[in-house]
Amino acid sequence: MKRRKFLRGASLAGAALPFLGRPTLAQKNAARTLKIIHNGNLASLDPIWTTAPPTKDYAFLTFDQLLAVDSKYVPHPQMAEGWTFEDDGRTFVLGLREGLKFHDGEPVRSADCIASIQRWGARDGFGQLAMRFVDTFEAIDDRRFRIKLKKSFPLLPAALGKSNSSQCFIMPERMAKVDPMKQVTETIGSGPYRFLKEEFVSGAKAAWAKFDGYIPRKEPVDSIAGGRIPAVDRIEWAFISDPSTAMAALIAGEQDYWDAPTLDLVPVMKADPNIVVSPRNPTGSYYMLQLNHTQPPFNNPKVRQALAMAIDQSQFLKSAVSDPALLKPCYGYYGSDSPYASEEGAEILKTKSIEKAKAALKEAGYAGEKVVILGVMENPTLAAMSQVAEDLMRRMGMNVQLVAMDFATMAQRRTSKEPTDKGGWSMFVTAWTGSDIVNPAVHQMLRAGGPTAWFGWPNDPEMEALRDQWANTATAEAQKKPAIALQVQAFKTLPYIPLGSLVSLVAYRKNLTGVFPCPVAAYWNIGKS
């Protein structure tokens, strides 16, 4: 081979490399395309298999629900025409609306709904609770099915229509029959937008097209209930992990909507007349100090109480956000929009005194046991609050070590029940949305069944008894009493310490229309002028 020939050939080959790019798959019309900056990486396309937030957001566009709760957490029909309880509440009958179709054109049938409920019920916490009451499922015909219950379970509609964690999305029967421990590979949904799998690049790009066969409800939108109207032809998600780049893309008009703007960049965006920054999730994010109840020193309830006396929620919240309008202290175990929102029993959290906490700590017999904080540093808010916790406990005279790590490391280490010198832990800061802590059924952190409870494994049989009492109470009004009694008991044994809430903001271009308050990242009804 001659040298010149080689060099020429190599040059041509190099020049051809970029052509390896995928061909254009869709004609994009900017005015009819909603471009969204999504913070998380959409990896899995199965909302039952994983509870990862991006997968949940994907599912809300792609799949529909039988029922959906409104802003007051009252369930309403969504795909359902309606439902009835018969036989003293021991039979639940649900009818589907006419003309509902999946994205492959097949009609939505009772069999699809039953299989979807069963798969969801095998994985989700509220679903598992509901399944404990279920005796049998029976398809009456293609549009009606019956669920026979072992005993009355009035919360079944709320479970089927819930907005938090893992929702009961309706998939074709063949997808819903897949082992809940394995991922579905198809993306045939029942929702307002059809997922364009051929354009999907995990962690980079996802796209949807309006599903022409979708029939939205006529009622006005109210949280996740009401009409889910596909207001644009196409939705695209870009996964931009760098906040400065995301902000610049929004300001430059390359993107239309940013689902989770970093709070320290908010003032810059507010100064731009073309950008709207506003709270969208009315429930906000609730932060908590999760304590390990199996290891010293927090296996001692008096040490937990001493720490609670030192906590000043505003200090924790201010460490993350300087704008006082975004800080919302919350002296309760339920979110402020919960029907059970109350400050009953919260006196200990209002103590806010280091001196009193020191005295209580001494009285508790604290002997300098090491406190290991698992600090997730990739999240600025969790990192800041972990540092405040470290400082606070040092000032109380405790022996503290803040261990910096990423989320995946924390997710593994928090499973350890070993002592702190053998890879265990004492506490970590975590956050849930308001809809995750709205009632005792969905509130994972209020479970106190010891080994079966959430990480930290609080053990309080009285709390468990009160939850059962709540679940077995027939009316919503009567449920308030055991729910609040559960909170009062929780403030005595402190499964975790509430740190208050922060308002969650979204940022979008001024020409977007129909952005409505919603506890999840829902993109139906949003159009462009």
Binding site: G21, G125, A252, A408
Partner: protein
């Protein structure tokens, strides 16, 4: 030369085997459990154990490594724990943006570094030489993320000449492709151009002091011809070496640049996989990068024979 090429490629196999073993061992020792991450906050320990078993994560490490290696030999890098997609497909989706970025960065770096270096070498101590020194100092000391933000702020946010982020495949039009890649490629090429400039200058200065250059000058050959035909050609071997090594190193630097400019390339894939402990993807990407590194080095070695006919393998 063919036998040399085959020999070099064969020696790369054990190198990549060692890389694979080291990466697997490091991942095995790194804390973090993908089953925990994907099961979510509400999963019970039983559910997490079931997921771990379904993914084969509960098997002994040597068995997992042996199984993975056996599949790799057959051209199968496994499937992502999180997306369930084949790793080869995921890497394939990300190659075009990364190759485009690297190609343009190399072109810009060589385009700036070589002429700048030659010009500075031709007039040592001149203002051009000082300018090269200043440029290389800046290029070395300016981190890619600072340069990237600065360029994006000036050319994208303020002047609105270029887009802030994203990648457009060449198939959608060369102009669009180039428009999206200019800022990240310039960001990536700053350090690289600085290195090439320095090495070119040093190498050309060396050659210019050789006897045969003095002879050429004595014969009255034009300085431009001496510089480009005689000096640069003979100074090319170290320059090409640094271009090759730099090109391989750029693959690592691309991680930051892809993140700053939201380019869906191999770098972003690697970071996402590490954060999620998506072991098959991490292993696949590292193996691919090590193969690329080896291939670039082999290509550089082979190029010597074309640049300097005295070199024979």
């Amino acid at each position: 030369m063919l036998s040399y090429m085959v020999r070099r490629l064969l020696t790369a196999v054990p190198v990549m085997g060692v890389v694979a073993l080291v990466v697997f061992s490091l991942l095995y020792l790194t804390p973090g459990d993908p089953a925990q991450v994907l099961a979510g906050d509400t999963a019970t320990p039983e559910q997490i154990a079931q997921i771990r078993a379904a993914l084969g994560l509960d098997e002994h490490a040597p068995l997992r490594f042996a199984r993975w290696l056996w599949h790799v030999v057959q051209g199968d890098l496994g499937v992502s724990i999180f997306s369930g997609e084949p790793v080869t497909h995921m890497i394939g989706q990300r190659l075009a943006p990364t190759f485009s970025l690297l190609l343009l960065a190399v072109i810009i770096s060589v385009g700036i570094g070589v002429p700048f270096g030659v010009a500075a070498a031709a007039r040592p101590g001149s203002w051009l030489d000082w300018a090269l020194t200043t440029f290389t100092t800046l290029g070395f000391s300016l981190p890619a993320f600072i340069a990237g933000y600065g360029l994006a702020f000036l050319f994208a946010t303020t002047l609105k000449w270029l887009p802030v982020q994203g990648f457009v495949p060449l198939s959608e039009g060369p102009a669009l492709w180039l428009r999206n890649l200019i800022l990240p490629a310039v960001t990536l090429s700053l350090v690289y151009a600085a290195i090439i400039g320095r090495v070119t200058r040093a190498s050309v200065v060396d050659v210019l002091s050789e006897d045969y250059i003095r002879t050429a000058r004595a014969k009255g050959i034009a300085p431009r011809v001496i510089l480009f035909r005689h000096a640069l050609k003979n100074a090319a071997v170290p320059v090409v070496t640094i271009i090759g090594i730099g090109a391989a190193t750029l693959i690592g630097s691309a991680v930051i640049t892809e993140n700053v400019f939201a380019i869906p390339g191999v770098g972003r894939l690697t970071v996402d996989a590490i954060l999620h402990r998506d072991y098959p993807v991490i292993q696949g990407v590292v193996l691919m990068l090590s193969a690329a590194y080896v291939l670039v080095n082999v290509a550089v070695d082979l190029s010597y024979t074309f640049l300097d006919p005295r070199i024979r393998y």
